[in-house]
Each structure stands twice: as C-alpha cells, then as structure tokens.
C-alpha cells in the first residue's frame, strides 16, 4: 500500500482508539513513533489500508513506580526512558539497552510499545525486559489482560496480541540493590545498526557466590530467549573463570540462530559465547556496572 491510499485515524484518547480498533480490527494498523511502520509503508509492505495514529494519546506515555514494580506506558519514547530518574535508579539495565538503539532521531520518535509490536528477535529493549520479569498489558474495549514477556512473543513478528487489542503498558521489576548488570550488543556499527547478537544479564552475588543469574539473548533464535541452563549452572556457585566459561558455553548452546546478511548461524553461536564471557569476566574483575541503593554506580 503506498502512502497516498492510506487513511489515518488520530484519536486523542485511549477510549477512542480502542473504539476504532474494535470496529476495524485487522484492517487497521497502530502507529506510535512510526520508525518501523513508515519504513514498511515506503517499502510497500503494509497491507492495512488504515492506520491508527497513537501519537496524540498522552495517557499512553508515563513512567511510574508501584511498590516493587515500574510501570511504563506503551507509547513512552526511548528519549523519556533514558531521562527517567525512576528507570535510572531502579532499572538501569534498560537504559544500557535504550542508549544503544538507533540514533538521537530514532530515540526521539521510537517507543517501547512499538519495539514489542514489531516483535523482532533483534529488538534491543526486549532482552532487558526478559531479565526484569516484564509483563505486557493488552487492552481492548471493556477488558484488559497481562501477559508475561516470554509468553508474549510467538516468533519473528508474531505475538499473542489480538487485532482488537492495544499494548498499553509494560511493567518491570525494580532491580535489587547490589546487583550487577550488563547489556551487550554486536552491530555493524554503533548507530542505526540492527543487533547481530545481544545479551542482557543481571547477576546477584553474595561475597563471590552467585545468588542468581538472569540471562537473556537477542537475535539468536525466533524470539528473544532466556538462557535457563546457564542460569541454573550459575546458581549457588562461586564466580570463577571456569564457571564463566561454563555459563557462556551453555548460553551459546541455548541459541537457535539463523544465517542472514548480518552474520552466519555459526558466527552468532560463537559471538554469544564471546559477549557473555566478556560481560561476566568484567564483573568478575570488578569492572562491572552495579546498582547500589537504587542508584547507578560503576564499581
């Protein structure tokens, strides 16, 4: 569909948007920042004849605390996430990822809900959301449901979202003070590059013993995945070069990568080992990033 033939609805409230969506269902496509949809429109791959512009719905853009959770409105821009005192204090791993997304231009337009809507396994906000135990709120007229992030994605560009539902909120755990964290991304260059492999991790240590490790991997399977075997291996053990090697190997074994123009499957498996090893080694040697009393600090 070329842009000339496309109709755009621009509701000013969520209620209005849900009403339009309930009537048009799969015939209308939501647009928030447009950083994915506009490229698709240019490439002629948008099949819907109508677009639902969410950019005027201010009630979809917020960052709030609720006890041990943080609530993020779906249409919150990367820019707001990066500048949020709440996210900086309690979920800095998300900042690590967001500052590596696109460019200033993309971060000033793109939204976290749009990253989930696109459902690319290379979406950079997604690995941190896995290790922050995120839940995705899906809303339609009169009702809403919450889905655990690992149940939200069905495959590349496929989610459990129904055509009459909007993503309205993403909620995450606050990180525990004292946890180390990382987000590593391999791209062809630093700006405007799609991840070839990415990894997000939170590791909580008591003295040198791993209380828990949460590790997720991007761009190496049909969806972002949690490296659960690696997490299990780490639990209760003393951090050492040997343990880091085993964790990185298990992470690499958990991947089911494809070969594409950005890299071969074999490269992705090796690179997974490499970035996980390096990130954990840095923490082991005392150069990792640590969240202290809810505030970011480099140890």
């Amino acid at each position: 569909m070329s842009y000339e033939k496309v109709e755009v609805y621009s509701p000013r409230s969520l209620a209005e948007a849900l009403e339009i969506l309930s009537q048009k269902k799969e015939h209308i496509k939501p647009v928030a920042g447009g950083t994915d949809v506009m490229v698709m429109l240019k490439d002629g791959v948008v099949k819907e004849k109508e677009l639902l512009n969410l950019s005027y719905i201010s009630e979809l853009s917020y960052i709030k605390e609720k006890e041990s959770r943080i609530l993020i409105g779906a249409a919150t821009k990367y820019r707001e996430i990066r500048r949020s005192p709440i996210i900086n204090a309690y979920a800095p791993i998300l900042i690590e990822a967001v500052r590596q997304i696109g460019s200033p231009q993309i971060q000033n337009l793109g939204t976290i809900g749009g990253n989930l809507g696109t459902a690319s396994p290379a979406g950079d906000s997604i690995p941190p959301l896995y290790v922050l135990n995120a839940r995705v709120k899906l809303q339609k007229i009169g009702t809403s449901r919450e889905v655990q992030i690992d149940k939200f994605f069905l495959g590349p560009r496929k989610t459990v979202k129904e055509p009459d539902e909007l993503i309205t909120e993403i909620s995450v755990d606050k990180m525990e003070p004292g946890s180390y964290y990382f987000f590593e991304k391999l791209g062809l260059r630093s700006a405007n590059a799609i991840s070839i492999v990415s990894a997000a991790g939170i590791i909580n240590l008591e003295n040198k013993t791993v209380k828990y490790l949460r590790l997720s991997l991007g761009a190496v399977a049909p969806t972002v995945i949690r490296a659960t075997d690696a997490e299990e291996e780490a639990k209760g053990k003393e951090l050492s070069e040997d343990l880091i090697d085993r964790i990185a190997k298990l992470a690499s074994e958990a991947t089911k990568p494809i070969s594409d123009i950005r890299g071969t499957a074999e490269y992705r498996k090796k690179a997974t080992y490499g970035i996980v090893y390096e990130a954990l080694y840095r923490i082991f040697k005392g150069y990792g990033k640590k969240i202290e009393y809810g505030f970011e600090k480099t140890s």
């Binding site: 755009v8 920042g33 447009g34 460019s103 200033p104 000033n108």
Partner: protein, 156 residues
C-alpha cells in the same frame, strides 16, 4: 482522502492539505517549498531530512503529516535571527565543513538539537549527537570541528 494540518513552521503558522500518511519530509519539500530537508534514504538511516520537532531532532521521513498537528517544526531556514546566521551555520562555513553539502542541513539541525539541550557537550556527546547523520563525502573531521568551535564559544 486528505487531511488539513496546521502547525508552526520556522515561527510562522502554516496550514497544509495532504494525504494523511505523507511524510513530513515530502510535505515540507513538495507542498511548502522547504528544500533544506533532503531525501536520502527515506528510512531513518541517513539523517539528511532531520528537523526539530517541538525542539527535538527527528528524521522527517519517518513522521506522518498527520502527527504534526499543532507542533513546532524548525528547519535550517528558520535558524537565522534578524538576518544573522546561527553560530552553527557560521561555524560550518568558517570550517569549510561541507563538500557536496547534501548532508549539511541535517548535521546542523542535529547539532542544534544537541546544543539546545546541552550547550556544553563533551566530545563523546557531540559524536553521539550527530551519530544519526551520514556524510557521504566524509567531511566528518571538519563537521566535528565546526560544532566543537561553537561549544567552545558557549563555554566562554
């Protein structure tokens, strides 16, 4: 199937009628005669179409005209004040920070967006600030110097 959209362009109120999903880039060039915004990739990757939207740098090829109602849009045409070029524009001229010039308006707008929010950026912050802009001729060192010169004046 057209929409009427009113917004503030370089300090003046404008009204346009256009297909609702037409990009701000195409509307600026084709309907409003603003040709400093350049179509490069039209996919958000080159930054040649950059504008300030409510003060923030965005690629106008990714913005639908339907999303601009009531907003403020600034292009390089709007940077001069009382016939005086903006310090960034002067600095780009002084440093010869342009070869073919296709990328120049986009770089100036990105730098302007950065300096509006952070008048005293570090070298790293300057590099990040223009990381969404590509110069096909490779004038990067001069572009960096041009921005850096303005930053130095800001500090004094």
């Amino acid at each position: 199937m057209e929409v009427n959209v009113s917004f503030n362009l370089n300090g003046k109120k404008v009204s346009v009628t256009a297909p609702p999903a037409k990009s701000l880039l195409r509307v600026l060039r084709e309907d409003l005669g603003i040709t400093s915004v350049k179509p490069g990739c039209e996919a958000g990757e080159c930054g040649a179409c950059s504008v300030l939207l409510d003060g923030q740098v965005v690629t106008s090829c990714l913005v639908m005209i339907s999303q601009v109602d009531g907003k403020n849009v600034i292009t390089v045409e709007g940077l001069q004040k009382d016939g005086e070029l903006d310090p960034l524009q002067k600095s780009f001229i002084d440093e010869g920070a342009t070869q073919c010039g296709y990328c120049t308006p986009g770089f100036i707008i990105s730098a302007k967006g950065l300096l509006n929010e952070n008048p005293n950026p570090t070298d790293e912050e300057i590099l990040e600030g223009v990381s969404g802009n590509i110069c096909r001729c490779g004038a990067y060192p001069r572009i960096f110097n041009a921005i850096k010169k303005v930053v130095k004046k800001n500090v004094i």
